[in-house]
Structures are given as structure tokens and as C-alpha cells.
Symmetry: C2
Subunit: 275 residues, 2 copies
Amino acid sequence: MPTEPITSPIGVFDSGIGGLTVVSALQALLPAENIFYLGDTARVPYGGKSRTTVERYSIEIGNLLLAERAKIIVVACNTASALAVPRLKECFKVPVQGVVAPGASAAVASTKNKIVGVIGTRATIASAAYENEIHSLDADIRVISVACPLLVPLIEEGMFEDKITDLMLARYLAPLLASGIDTLVLGCTHYPLLSQTIARIAGPGVALVDSAANCAQAVKNVLEKNALSAPADQLGELNVALTDATERFLRTAANALHLELGDVALRSLQNPEKP
Amino acid sequence: MPTEPITSPIGVFDSGIGGLTVVSALQALLPAENIFYLGDTARVPYGGKSRTTVERYSIEIGNLLLAERAKIIVVACNTASALAVPRLKECFKVPVQGVVAPGASAAVASTKNKIVGVIGTRATIASAAYENEIHSLDADIRVISVACPLLVPLIEEGMFEDKITDLMLARYLAPLLASGIDTLVLGCTHYPLLSQTIARIAGPGVALVDSAANCAQAVKNVLEKNALSAPADQLGELNVALTDATERFLRTAANALHLELGDVALRSLQNPEKP
């Protein structure tokens, strides 16, 4: 018997709103599951911050998700997945699922010429988390990683089809395309919102691997393995909470992803020890 | 007699590193003053966050600066100046000097055709702080404000001379130039690092008003008025502390501003009540 009720929510967090791409993938795959999403908009972004700080923030949010009775913690943020998942697994008894391992495993399955590109925030790329994970599965794969620190700001401005975004992307992707990659990992949960433009610039010879869809599949597997799946006859609810009341990009992302958000709650992480 | 020793430091803070442009201006004008600078790099940027959150962060940092015996609190961040200076003045007994009032007053002195442009973060522009301050000095001045949310990321990438930055700036400045402004307020402490490019795109008919230099002059006036100036025969020291150990842009900015930083300390704001 599971100790947590199976109707407890899947707890999902991100530094901000990008993790809603994971929520969208979870809803498509697991429509019966309740989802509680926490976006740490008071401290967004994590992508340029240190491991110590990202670990501390992730643990604070993990405590908040457990107070919401989360049966699994989904780290829907590549930076937090790359830097903080090992600490989270030490701290919490519920399963912890990040986005890096599923993305790496999908990249290994996708590549034919064994040359894989990875794009992400500065912190994700500096951590070499994707590289290490891919090499643990197949040491022969050549991994070329490029930090793309301006993509998140461009996406948050909604500049999906824009000459400036095209120029910036072409510059970031140039060394990857020159290396002959046949697979590109979108190593940031914001990037699926820009996948059409990335696909156009990368060209038809490059398969895109999306963290969100692969993470959702991994969550499904973990829930099934632990007998934690919700009853199939219910329709799951989505609850969204943010740490700062800045909803501008939230609405942009929700529209792009066709998510029904309802009311958005505000949560403080000032006293994380008393959630 | 001042209650605070005159050799106590000027306490300066910013959400990150942009406020070092104010430090540079303070050192040029007040070489005898000790300066303690706190960059809240663990929660940078403030420019897209809400008033409540920016007020809370500013009060936490004010307490930290007072624990460092600051004789004045300089809010070297336009967003925090625009949103939190009134609350800081209520909370603290030492003088509080923001960057908005000096910038507005310099813009009023500069404009001849009474058409002034203001660029800043989304939060600064939404607050209408510059507009209100300028209108309190001269209600006949027309103020046109444009939020430039991508400039800080571009500056933090060091893309000072870059085609992409030029394109973005031209787009942001177009409505201001079309309105015939003769004065442009750089309403973000990052922007002086990009002033050459901004001047080139704005053209010779537009005078740039720099928060940093005008704020330094205001600090000098406040210190003199309160008999808090340091003895002229000493050479001031600069101490820099950050809330997250991410020094990449710190070094870029320090080099561009010719600042001697020495060691950089790390400070936690986790328990702000116990600084």
C-alpha cells in the first residue's frame, strides 16, 4: 500500500513559468492526475546562480510541495535538475524526478551519428549534467554544449518569431551545426515554446529532444512503479502558485500551451521552515 | 553632532552589479568616503518583480547595511528606487537616497523642448516614478517612457558593441526619437555601461541623463547637509558583498568601470532579522 494517497497531487516546480511546458506534457499523458505547480517568480531566474543557492531554493520549495501533500516532486527546471536533484533525493522520501535524465536518455535513443548538441542556461551547461548523463549511457557519443543565456529573456518577451531571436539563435547554434549534430537537446523548460524557430534554424537534419515530453513519461513510469497513479476515472485538477505576483509571462505561456489555469495563488518562501 | 561616526561607510545596494556604476561615480566625487556595496545576486533581477517583493527585499538589505554601520543608504537600483524608497524612508532613521529623484531633476534641467524620454525596466516604467517626479518639478514637460526588458540581459552578456544590441536598441528608442525627445533618462543603473551605443543610436540631438552621476551628487549634498562627510584627508575603501557567488558579470563591470574590488564577501539574507 502506498503511504501517500494516490489522489495526492504531482508537485511540480520551476524557477518561474517555463515548467508549465512540463505541466502541459503531464496533462496530456496523465489526465487523471492532480497537479500542484509552484513557480518561484520572486527569485527567477536560476540559470545564472550558484549550486549552493539553487540547492537551497529547491529544498525550500520541496518542503512547500510536501506541505501540499505532493506524492512526487517533479523538478521542471533544467538548472535545478542539473544542480539540485541529488540533494533533493537525500532530503525527501517521496520520489524526485528531474528533467535531465529523461532528456539525456531520449537523446541517446535519437542520435544515429552519435553527435549530440545541448543548449541550456549558463548554470546547466557549466554543470555538465547532460554530458555526464549521456556518457553514462553511451560513452562514445560526442556531446557539444552551448550556453544560451539570452533565450529565456527573448522567450519571456514573447519574441517567438522575430529577426532578433533568429540572429541570436543562429549565433548560438552555429558551433553545434558546424559540428554535425543530428540531435539537439532543448535543455531548458522555456525552450519548447521556441521549438518551431529552433527547428527552422537547425534544419531538417537535426532532431529536437524536448525535456518536457520525456520528463512526463518518466513521471508516469515512477508513479506506476510505486503504485501511486491516480484512479483513471477522475479528471485531474491543476493548481498554480507563484512566489511573486507577476503574471505577465504566466498568461503568455498558458495561452501558448492551452492550459486552464484558474486562480493563481501567491505563496511566500520567507519562512520556509514553517510552510 | 552626528550620531553616526563620519567614517562609517556609505551603504549602497542594487539587485545585482549595475549599481557599481553609482559606486564609480561616488568614488570620483567623494574619494574620502568608505563604501559598502551589497549586490543581491541571489535574487537578481528586480526589474520584473512586484512592489511588495521589491519592498521586502530592500528592507532586508537595509537592515544588513545598517549592521555594517552605514551612515546613509543609497538605493543604486532604479527599480528599488522607484518602488521601495518611500517604505525605506519610513523604516530607517539614516538618510535614504534613491536614483530616481536626482535623475528626474537632471532631466528637467537638461531639456529645452520639454520632451523627455525615459528608458528602464518593466517595473520602473510601470511605476511611473520618473514621470511623477519630473511632473512635480515641471508639469509642462511631456514624458515618454519605454520599458526595455532585454537591455539588462544584453549588457550582462557584455554585448556592448553588437549588431543584435543595436537592433534591439533601435526598436526600443524608435517611439522616443519619433516623439522628438531632446533628453533621454537612462533609468537603470546598468545602462551607463551601454551609453556609447545609446548615444550613437539616439544621435547628437539627444542629451543622455545618467542616474549614477546625478545620484552621487545628491549623496554629496545629503552628507554635507547632515555633517556626515568623511574627513577629506583619508582615502576611502570599497567593500563589496554579494548574496550569491556568481562573479562573472561583477568582473566585467569592474573592469569597464576601472574599480578596484579586492575580495568579494558572500552574505546570506536567509535570516534577515539576524544580520
